[in-house]
């Protein structure tokens, strides 16, 4: 199947600064792809190039297997990073306007606006000016406008920023629904949790370069897994587990107990470790297999200094 989006060797300069430096990745159709990276990494520049606002200085961007054109840009829905609406327009008029600019007929666009506003719980505000709406509501209106023309590829630049947790969950749900309906979603974020929960694939960009591309599992696999154990008394867990093939390191004391960190080398290692602890009669006060996070993965990939403000 053709990728909805394919970027190859993208380079973009701002003056003398190389904002994006040879980034290549693709977004397979029907999947959710997350572009992750700290602020200033080059995510928004990459995304603005994808949607045709910026022109690449080098490299190619293909949409649905063809170079960017007015025609295939119509198949994209885009939510910019910095939210912009016509505050004096009504939500219905705003959504209708952007949908018509993407080629929808007026009657279809109006009907679609009504459906989306109802889905977002904003029907009562359809004919009020956007400036009378709360910030969260205005963002919902903008998101609705981005998908009103039922695009095949939905590009969302930091869609969760500025939203409260309830609205963030609403956007997550919308992203899942879009993917479930066969659309491709590409979104950028610097919040790992969203990517971890939503993405089929992730792309990490740091300092304008791609640092990683793959599935979430593949990203997590780069982090060595460990378990944290606390034992009572003077029990030497490292010595006890050595014959069971576990690498165990003392990690100080906690809650009056000796604390240990044990490397888990494979998927069944946690179960085997617990069994080994039982076999050596280890006086366990705490057993906690640590679950790697994307944040851990990215620290591992690009280093602590680069990860910056990522959450």
């Amino acid at each position: 199947m053709t990728d909805a989006l394919s970027i190859n060797g993208l380079v973009k300069f701002y003056g003398d600064k190389r904002a994006v430096d040879g980034v290549s990745f693709s977004a397979p159709q029907g999947q959710i792809t997350g572009v992750l990276g700290p602020n200033g990494a080059g995510k928004s520049t990459t995304i603005r190039t994808v949607v045709g606002i910026l022109t690449p200085d080098q490299g190619q961007v293909e949409l649905f297997g063809a170079p960017i054109s007015r025609e295939n840009l119509r198949r994209i829905g885009y939510l910019p990073e910095e939210r912009g609406v016509y505050r004096s327009m009504t939500p219905r008029a705003f959504i209708t306007y952007l949908a018509r600019l993407k080629g929808m007929k007026a009657s279809e666009a109006r009907a679609r606006a009504d459906v989306l506003l109802k889905a977002q719980g904003l029907s009562a505000y359809a004919h009020k000016r956007i400036k009378t709406l709360s910030k969260g509501m205005a963002q919902k209106v903008q998101l609705a406008a981005a998908i009103a023309h039922q695009p095949d590829l939905v590009v969302l630049d930091e869609p969760f920023s500025g939203l409260d947790p309830v609205n963030q969950r609403g956007v997550e749900s919308l992203v899942r629904d879009l993917a479930a309906s066969g659309r491709t979603v590409l979104f950028s974020t610097h919040v790992m949790e969203h990517a971890e929960r939503l993405c089929d694939r992730i792309v990490l960009i740091a300092n304008g370069r791609k640092a990683f591309e793959g599935t979430v599992s593949e990203a997590l696999a780069v982090v060595p897994r460990t378990a944290t154990i606390e034992t009572e008394g003077a029990f030497d867990l490292a010595a006890a587990l050595a014959s069971h093939g576990f690498r165990t390191e003392a990690d100080g004391e906690a809650h009056g107990h000796r604390k240990w960190r044990v490397a888990l080398d494979d998927a069944n290692a946690s179960r085997r470790l617990l069994a080994a602890c039982a076999a050596v009669n280890a006086p366990l006060a705490l057993y906690e297999p640590a679950r790697a996070t994307l944040h851990d993965a990215f620290v591992r990939i690009v280093g602590d200094g680069v990860i910056g403000d990522m959450e």
Binding site: R48, R74, Y78, E82, Y86, L101
Partner: protein
Amino acid sequence: MREIYLIARREYLAYVAAWGFWLSLLTAPLLLALFAVGPMLAGQAEPTRALAVIAADPKDAEAIAASFAARSTEIMPRYVVVPAPAATPQEIAPWLTGQKTVAVEGEGRPLFAALFVKRTGETVSVDYWSTNLTDRSAADRAVRAVSERMRADALSARGLDAAETARIEALAPKLEQYDPRGAPGAAVTDRDRAPFVVGMILSFVLWSAVMGVANMLLTGVIEEKSNKILDSLLTSASPLQILIGKLLGVAAVSFTLFGVWGVLGGGALGAASHAGVAGDLAQAALNPALIGAFVVFFLGGYLIYGALFLALGSLCDTLQESQSLLGPVFLVLTLPILFLIPAFQNPQAPLVVGASWFPFFTPFVMMMRAPAGLSPVEFFGPVLLLVATVALVLVGAARVFHAGVVNQASAASLRRRLFARKA
């Protein structure tokens, strides 16, 4: 085309729905009406002013009283000469300061002024007493009345009849002006001059409209840039389409204003079309050729300056920031005003003709020259140059606009965009 139409339509509806549009729509005719009838209303609102004349020679007092009586209904404010309540400046002071009043139109009012006319032989002096130090119209009229009497007395003393004197003073050659391009033997009238007056008025209206509308565009694009809505538009329309859509939308706003003002003004002029100068101006203003020229030159001037303002506005994030960039544009836009009077006095003056070929001045100067009966080359030459310049400015402005709205604008990127050739 569809994108341009939708963007223009949104711009139009946004401006028309704003309070500012309705204020502009109503304010201009109201102000015009106020300027026309304001002074008369102000004069009528002021109560009749009371004057006292104390003259050594009663005939001087009669001449002054007759002068005010003859024009009491024409001139505002109105004056009435009342019997002097006292004979000296010291005695009359309480009436001038309002401590005492005289009866005027059934109510007591202070004296506005007192005139003391003194004669010593042939020497006459007028002392004008009033608490109003700025309005000397009553004094001037009294002096004119006394002067006429003095001249009449002097001529009479030399044996000349007063009526004969007046006839001699009125002697003057009769001036007739002719235009070799007009009908044989037909003298030039105010009706022939009216198109030039209308041309000058329309040229000024054109200039004010371009200035005002370009500012609307500037503030609009800075607002859109600061709230980032342009990023959404750029995925649906090219910078050139956005630029042209915005220009056409605001042009439609202007034509709506002109249309409403035209209907109101045309109605007012039509109602006055039988009345002298107003009738001449009405006939000249309602000339379809002049209206057509106005539309063409408005579009030309508006598109050039509007595109420049949009492009420069796209490089700025705030209005304050825009002021420094717009200085030179405002300077160029101000210069055509200097040609209004010279072009009115001589539409064929070399400087005026030269200015009409400079595309940034063409709309304003040609609007002035249009009624002068220009040859096809003189008219269509500058117009074609204007059209070509509009096209160039639009393309250049679209490039700057693109650079500006995607926040890439810098001196280097501007140069690249302005002089880049399409691959």
